[in-house]
């Protein structure tokens, strides 16, 4: 339809695609919560990277003489039922949570985006087949799916990441598929095919780059979900195997001593809560900066 004025107006207002600096500005302008959360997320990441240098202990080092000690100079958060340093285990737990969260979301994003692009661009049989498959997959609750798959892929960090990733794939496929459908209506896609560009190149050059913002938004919101699922699995005992200092494992073990030694479960619990909340706030912020229209869709 002809909406000259409207088009012109829209152009004027959106003339400036905001640069990175402006994006950061909008991000932090969202309020104090965003600032605190970003700081927390950065701290968690630093902990995950540098945890071996932060404590003199290793998370597996047992000392039965020192078991279930309250806090002291040597053990700031005391020790657990096997005499392991709780603080060390909590710090190492950040590493495991973040690695599983990022790893699973990352590979779900890659596979999901690839499938979504394929489905969106090849409209015919392949497209509808992939989408039906996705719908079927979406109808299975992710936790149940993960419980079934976890024993198959092994209860290591890698295995659990793959399993959680599988459960996250369909939401990426859906999102990217929808994005491609709307992007391919753009005049520049028509223009590319008119100058004789091949379908594959159009997919690669014009559709993929414009899907990436959505995938990033999806990714940030997905990491915290993945971390929650990982902790859930570990807690009910079908996730990462016990001596590994995953927070879910620690909460589950500490649960037995909840009355007399509550810090065993509470310390990792608080860490988990802080990480999830701050990841969610940061994720929302990134979404609003990249594309506020996605609000409510994710």
């Amino acid at each position: 339809m002809v909406h000259d004025a409207a088009v012109a107006k829209h152009n004027r207002l959106s003339k400036r695609h905001s640069g990175l600096r402006e994006k950061c500005h909008t991000f932090f302008k969202r309020g104090i919560l965003t600032k605190i959360s970003s700081a927390l997320v950065i701290i968690f990441i630093l902990i995950a990277i540098f945890c071996p240098y932060l404590t003199p202990y290793t998370p597996y080092e047992q000392s039965l003489r020192n078991k279930l000690k309250p806090w002291s100079k040597e053990h700031w958060l005391g020790t657990d039922n096997l005499g392991r340093d709780v603080l060390t285990r909590v710090l190492y737990g950040a590493r495991i949570s973040i690695v599983t969260g990022v790893l699973s979301s990352l590979w779900a994003a890659v596979v999901g985006a690839a499938l979504g692009l394929t489905a969106g661009y090849s409209r015919g049989f392949l497209g509808s087949f992939l989408m039906r498959l996705t719908d079927a997959h979406l109808s299975i609750p992710p936790l149940i799916l993960v419980m079934v798959l976890a024993p198959i892929f092994g209860r290591t960090i890698l295995g659990i990441s793959i399993v959680i990733g599988i459960s996250a794939i369909p939401s990426y496929v859906r999102m990217v598929y929808g994005q491609v459908l709307s992007l391919r209506e753009n005049d520049y896609v028509t223009a590319a095919s008119v100058i004789g560009q091949s379908n594959f190149k159009i997919l690669l050059k014009h559709l993929l780059p414009n899907c990436i913002p959505v995938v990033i938004v999806m990714f940030t919101s997905n990491v915290s979900t993945a971390i929650t699922i990982e902790a859930n699995l570990a807690y009910i005992g079908i996730g990462i195997r016990p001596p590994t200092p995953a927070w879910g494992v620690m909460i589950s073990e500490g649960y037995n001593y909840l009355v007399s030694y509550p810090h065993l479960a509470i310390a990792p619990g608080i860490m988990l809560m802080l990480l999830i909340i701050s990841l969610n706030v940061v994720g929302d912020g990134i979404r609003d900066v990249i594309d506020p229209r996605l609000r409510g869709k994710l």
């Binding site: 909406h3 000259d4 409207a6 400036r16 402006e22």
Partner: protein
């Protein structure tokens, strides 16, 4: 013409953005008399809409802010009142009504046309729901919408663009305001619908003896209706005068350029159009000199050195221009074909961007 109903003096409105202060309206003064129809003309982004929004103090704030000026409406300065004060609210709609550029966004998509129409009528006419409904049907009939009873129950998306704009006109007229501001009321419409809607708007305004401000970027569309024209460029009024003066004896190089840029139906096709070179300036950190200078074909030393020219009266007439030069001397003959020596530009006018 009747009494002066609106007088605006030195109005300034800015948007404070990351990049700096956007001076969207810069020292704008104008007036409108009772039963007068005036037009604001200018390119996209020159501040036409923001000028009108400032009168009603509905500039999106932040980032927008009215930074100075006076708006005398029936003798009272509206800018003395806070945007949300009861005085301002009674002016909006009942004193000055506005019809917006985009009819789709100015009607609420989730309510029926009738719902929105009766709400407004009940607010301004102090009548009950049933009466308001009847008046709504009457209002739709007055804007020549067929089957008004049925249309009252329609949602905005069920109407065509032309019909939506006519509903907006009905709403505006039925608030019984003294001034109606129509912001590009027909730009989104087809040529034939455009003619329908404009004729209707003007005839309603005349019939109810109201004043009308039409904002447009196409001079040709309004020529036959308006009494006076204000030409805006980069946030300022750069020429004003009666329609006849402006259309037949334009004096500002920009106005001349605008008139020359449109293909004339009475002229030979083989003739080249004479565009204005370049593009409008950004409204941030503006040159203190004439804003049209980089695009002007008549620029001379005075323009290069002096500050932005003040609006000045030409002789005894009501014709004002903001230009250092008086290019009347170099103009002879009709509107067209004047710029032959000075104004012809070839490819690449915009390239310096």
């Amino acid at each position: 013409m009747g009494e002066r109903i609106l007088e605006v003096r030195n109005l300034c409105t800015s948007f404070f953005t990351h990049e700096g202060e956007v001076k969207a309206v810069n020292d704008v003064s104008f007036h409108i008399d009772e039963q007068e129809i005036v037009a604001f003309v200018g390119e996209s982004g020159c501040g036409k809409t923001v000028t009108q929004l400032s009168l009603l103090q509905i500039v999106p704030a932040p980032p927008g802010k009215i930074t100075g000026g006076e708006v005398f409406f029936k003798g009272r300065d509206l800018l003395q009142h806070k945007p949300n004060s009861p005085e301002m609210r009674s002016v909006r709609g009942a004193g000055i009504a506005m019809i917006f550029q985009e009819p789709m966004t100015s009607l609420n998509p989730v309510f029926t046309v009738g719902h929105q129409l009766t709400d407004i009528i009940m607010l301004h006419r102090k009548v009950g729901h049933k009466e308001a409904w009847e008046m709504g049907i009457e209002a739709l009939r007055s804007v020549e919408i067929p089957e008004p009873e049925v249309r009252m129950r329609n949602y905005p998306f069920e109407l065509s663009g032309g019909m939506r704009q006519r509903v907006m006109i009905a709403m505006a007229v039925y608030c019984n305001p003294d001034i109606i501001i129509a912001d590009e009321p027909t730009t989104a419409l087809d040529v034939t619908t455009q003619a329908q809607v404009l004729e209707l708007l003007v005839s309603l305004v005349k019939q109810h003896r109201k004043s009308l401000i039409i904002v447009t970027h196409n001079l040709g569309v309004v020529t036959r209706y308006v009494d006076r024209i204000y030409v805006m460029y980069a946030g300022r009024i750069i020429e004003s005068g009666s329609t006849e003066e402006i259309m037949t004896k334009p004096r500002h190089p920009y106005t001349i350029g605008l008139l020359n840029s449109v293909p004339k139906i009475e002229k030979e096709r083989s003739e080249k159009l004479i565009p204005i070179k370049g593009a409008p300036p950004w409204l941030i950190d503006m040159d203190p000199r004439c804003t049209f200078l980089p695009r002007c074909s008549y620029a001379c030393e005075v323009c290069e050195t002096k500050e932005f020219p003040k609006l000045r009266r030409l002789g005894e007439s009501d014709h004002f221009i903001a230009c250092h030069r008086d290019i009347a001397g170099s103009i002879t003959g009709s509107t067209t074909g004047r710029l032959d020596s000075a104004g012809r530009h070839d490819l690449g006018g915009e390239a310096h961007g």
